[in-house]
C-alpha cells in the first residue's frame, strides 16, 4: 500500500496505518535528526516530535503537492533547525568539533568484500565527521539533496532561501567533502 493510501486510512481512524508509516520512515527521520543535531537523545526527541506533529497535521498533507516522504522530511528538517537555533549555533558548532563519532555498529553494510567493506565504512564515517563540521545549512542541503533526493527547488522551499544559494552550498559542500576525502586517501 502506498503512503498516500496509508494517510487516507489514518484520517479514517485506522491507527495501524500510522504505525505502518512510522515503521517505514523512523530510521530515515531519526538518521536525518542525528546528522543534523549530532546528539542521540535530542535526535530521538526531535524524531518523535516530527511523527507527533505529522499525526496532528495529517489533514494538512496534500498528496497532489508532493510525496509524504518529502512532507515528513521537511517537517523533521525544520524542527531540527529550530532546535539548533534554540541551542545556539555557536555552541553546537563547538560541541561538534569535539563531538562523539557514530558507532560502527550503526552503519549497516550491503554485501561487500571485507576489504571493500572496511573502506566503505571508513569513508562513510569520515563523511559523517566532515558533515558534522560543516555549517548546519550546508549540511542540511547535502543531506536533503543526496540523502533524501529532494530537488533543488524543494530544498529552497524547505529552507526558505534562494535557489542560487542552495546550488552554491551544494557545490561547495560536495567539493569540500571530495577534497578532504582525497587528502586522507579515501577516494
Amino acid at each position: 500500500m502506498d503512503d498516500a493510501a496509508l494517510v487516507r486510512r489514518c484520517l479514517e481512524g485506522d491507527k495501524r496505518a500510522f504505525d505502518e508509516l512510522v515503521q517505514r520512515y523512523r530510521d530515515r527521520v531519526y538518521g536525518m535528526a542525528l546528522h543534523l543535531l549530532g546528539d542521540k537523545d535530542l535526535a530521538e526527541d526531535m524524531a518523535q516530535e516530527a511523527f507527533l506533529r505529522a499525526f496532528q497535521r495529517l489533514t494538512l498533507f496534500d498528496p497532489n503537492k508532493g510525496s509524504f516522504s518529502n512532507w515528513l522530511m521537511t517537517l523533521t528538517t525544520r524542527l531540527c533547525l529550530n532546535a539548533l537555533k534554540r541551542r545556539g549555533l555557536e555552541q553546537q558548532w563547538i560541541a561538534e568539533q569535539e563531538g562523539e563519532t557514530f558507532e560502527l555498529a550503526e552503519l549497516g553494510e550491503d554485501a561487500l568484500s571485507p576489504e571493500e567493506e572496511w573502506w566503505a565504512v571508513e569513508r562513510r564515517l569520515f563523511i559523517r565527521k566532515l558533515l558534522s563540521t560543516m555549517h548546519p545549512m550546508q549540511r542540511t542541503v547535502l543531506l536533503l539533496r543526496y540523502g533524501e533526493e529532494m530537488s533543488i527547488q524543494e530544498i529552497a522551499q524547505v529552507l526558505q532561501v534562494p535557489i542560487g544559494t542552495v546550488k552554491a552550498w551544494l557545490f561547495r559542500g560536495r567539493e569540500v567533502l571530495r577534497r578532504k576525502l582525497k587528502e586522507v586517501g579515501l577516494l
Binding site: 559523517r128 539533496r145 557545490f171
Partner: protein, 141 residues
C-alpha cells in the same frame, strides 16, 4: 586540474544537478567529453552522493516505538481533557442560565437529552477552532 577545469567544474555541477541552461549544459558536456580529470571528479562526486544516501538511515534506539506510542497516547489524552473542560463549561453555563431564568430543575431534566445533543455539536467547536488556529499559526512559525 588546470584553470579551464576550475572554470568548468561549477558548470558541470549545475548541469548534473539539473538547473543549467542549454548553453551551460552543452559547454559542460563538451568539456567532460575531452577531460579525463573532470570525469574522474564527477565519479567522485557520485560516490560521495551514494555514501550520503546510504548513511542517511540510522536504526532508531531501542524502545523508540514504545516511547512514540506513549507520546501519541498522551497527546490524545490531552485532547480528551480539553473536550472534558469544554463540556463542563457548557454544563455550567446551562445550569447557570436555568437558575438565572428561573427554570425548574424538573424542566431542565426533561429537556436534558435535547440539550445534550446540541451541547455535543456546540461544545466541541471552540476546541476545534482553537486547534485549527494553532495548526495555522504553527505552520507559519
Amino acid at each position: 586540474m588546470n584553470d579551464e577545469c576550475t572554470k568548468f567544474l561549477p558548470k558541470i555541477h549545475e548541469w548534473l544537478e539539473g538547473g543549467a541552461d542549454e548553453e551551460t549544459s552543452l559547454l559542460a558536456q563538451l568539456h567532460l567529453r575531452n577531460c579525463h580529470r573532470c570525469r574522474e571528479i564527477v565519479k567522485e562526486w557520485q560516490l560521495i552522493a551514494q555514501e550520503i544516501k546510504s548513511s542517511i538511515s540510522v536504526p532508531t534506539p531501542k524502545g523508540f516505538d514504545e516511547r512514540l506510542k506513549q507520546r501519541l497516547n498522551d497527546h490524545q489524552l490531552v485532547s480528551w481533557r480539553e473536550l472534558a473542560v469544554s463540556w463542563s463549561l457548557t454544563a455550567f453555563s446551562v445550569a447557570a442560565s436555568a437558575l438565572w431564568f428561573g427554570v425548574s430543575l424538573t424542566d431542565v431534566i426533561r429537556t436534558l437529552p435535547q440539550w445534550v445533543i446540541s451541547a455535543i455539536s456546540w461544545s466541541t467547536l471552540p476546541v476545534q477552532w482553537l486547534q485549527q488556529f494553532w495548526d495555522f499559526m504553527s505552520r507559519w512559525a
